[in-house]
Amino acid sequence: MTIKLGCGQGFYGDGLAPVADVLDAGVDYLVCEALAELTLAILQKDRQRDESLGFTRDLPLYLQRALPFVLEGRTRFITNAGGINPVAAGRAAFDAARAAGAGGTGLKIATVVGDDLRSKASGLELPGADQALFANAYLGARPIVEALAAGARIVITGRVADASLFTAPLVHEFGWRWDDWDRLAAGVAVGHLLECSGQVTGGNYSGRWWNNPDPTRIAFPIGEVEPDGTAVITKPKGTGGMVTFDTVREQLLYEVHDPARYLNPDVIADFTSLNLSDRGEDRVQLSGCRGMAAPQTYKGLVCTPAGWAGECRVTYTWPDAEAKARAALGYVKARTVADGVPVEEWWEEYFGVDGFGGPTVEIPDGWDPPEVTGRLAWRTTNQADAARPAREVGVLGLSGPPGISGLGRAGGGSRPTQLLAVDPFLIEREIVDSQVRVDIQEL
């Protein structure tokens, strides 16, 4: 028995068109991975405005596409789109299903709750816990497996580890034991390769990316997994992008830190034990993955306020564009300081010179590019102060160095944004497990 896992989403805001190709290819599960560390912070800002938000708001769009397949019994749908408010996401999923005509079909939608540790943050002595905006643990696959076993065809979670969204259906289908470390590790490898959508099918590929077939239609990936954990990473036929040894290995090591000990809530996976075999025609086989006993603790993230930021951008033309941009940003800083605005940190970048690369960039003698964009960002403790330096940008138009342009419709300055610190912590599994719950709604 081969189980096909399709990736439907790799981040909040990902494409929708490739989802149809994955569904049409025939997958047993469509898995939408919606959360990154930064996403939780974005969702927190939503929830601060409106307590009924805090989940990724494109969830209904993905559901709309998946529901016909779910209602026909051809596929199940798993997502962590619940973000920091899975209960609200579960409600939105229920409403979307009813709107799609699922009322009275007996469709079961499960919501996994319990990753939220905000109420316990003070007791856990987390950094800045008394003002935590969110505090969540990364759950593993178990509650999803529980939901699938209870007959749920749609499973909505909060902060479940990305790869665990994919291991859960494999554990459910193949009956893998929770101490079968090699199988669980194989599942994590498959999940890790699928969870970033187009990043394994030619997206962000550092090789000859310009040779991607049909690059405007880069596909989302599919994993074909066997009961022993061997698997093939592939993509729907007739789509763009490519699956090769090279695209797969770039994703294999993505964000894993120590590849011999990739920590997941259910297992520690050794990705250095994995054999990758390119079978051609966009099929790469994985085998031999080894695993070790799961970590004693769960990882969590706690988010706390970290001040306010503003920024401005000014672009100057040749000649001496870099010198002009540097002088202009210097004026903005000097005038802000002269006005007594307390700025805690400044950050300068010069695009066209070394804006991203900083000290890694070699700048040739006499380098005089056609234009240089200077970007100045600053941090203050309060919102009003963060708005202040951008006002000086307009002054540069008539009273700065010659040849400023390209300020754009925003006039060169941005509205202040709140900065958030997101810090990792470890927590005893029992504390989290005791509050995890699977709620099932039936249509």
Binding site: G207, R208, R249, L253, H257, A260, G357
Partner: protein
């Protein structure tokens, strides 16, 4: 030995976790892999990134995919939602590492497979 830029020798991908930048290099064959293991030490990477990276640099090996992994601490100005940098997630750090000049055996430099650059299509001016 020949001096060569990593961009001509390796593929690379980067990502982030908190204030950590996580960069992988990928060699195309065993001799290239051996060469970058010698040339691209954590110390070299730390020096290359200079003031962009305030913490230590760790290195890991994944020989099954000819991969060399670098974990750069305190590398993103405080982490994605806290950083003042336009590249708050370090999405350009793989390219920044590929700028590095290294000394490799002559045959490795001659066999380097990544010298081709993307074609640029400009409309007539």
């Amino acid at each position: 030995m020949t001096r060569i830029r990593l961009v001509d020798l390796c593929g690379a991908r980067c990502g982030d976790k908190g204030d950590i930048s996580d960069i992988s290099l990928f060699a195309d064959d065993a001799p290239s892999y051996a060469a970058i293991k010698v040339a691209v030490t954590p110390e070299v990477v730390k020096t290359h990134f200079g003031s962009l990276v305030r913490g230590p640099v760790e290195r890991y090996e994944a020989p099954n995919v000819l991969g060399l992994k670098f974990v750069l601490h305190e590398a993103l100005g405080g982490g994605g939602p806290r950083s003042l940098r336009s590249d708050n997630l370090g999405k350009t750090h793989a390219a920044a590492l590929l700028r590095l000049w290294v000394e490799v055996p002559d045959d490795v430099a001659v066999g380097a497979a990544r010298r081709r650059r993307a074609p640029v299509e400009r409309s007539r001016r």
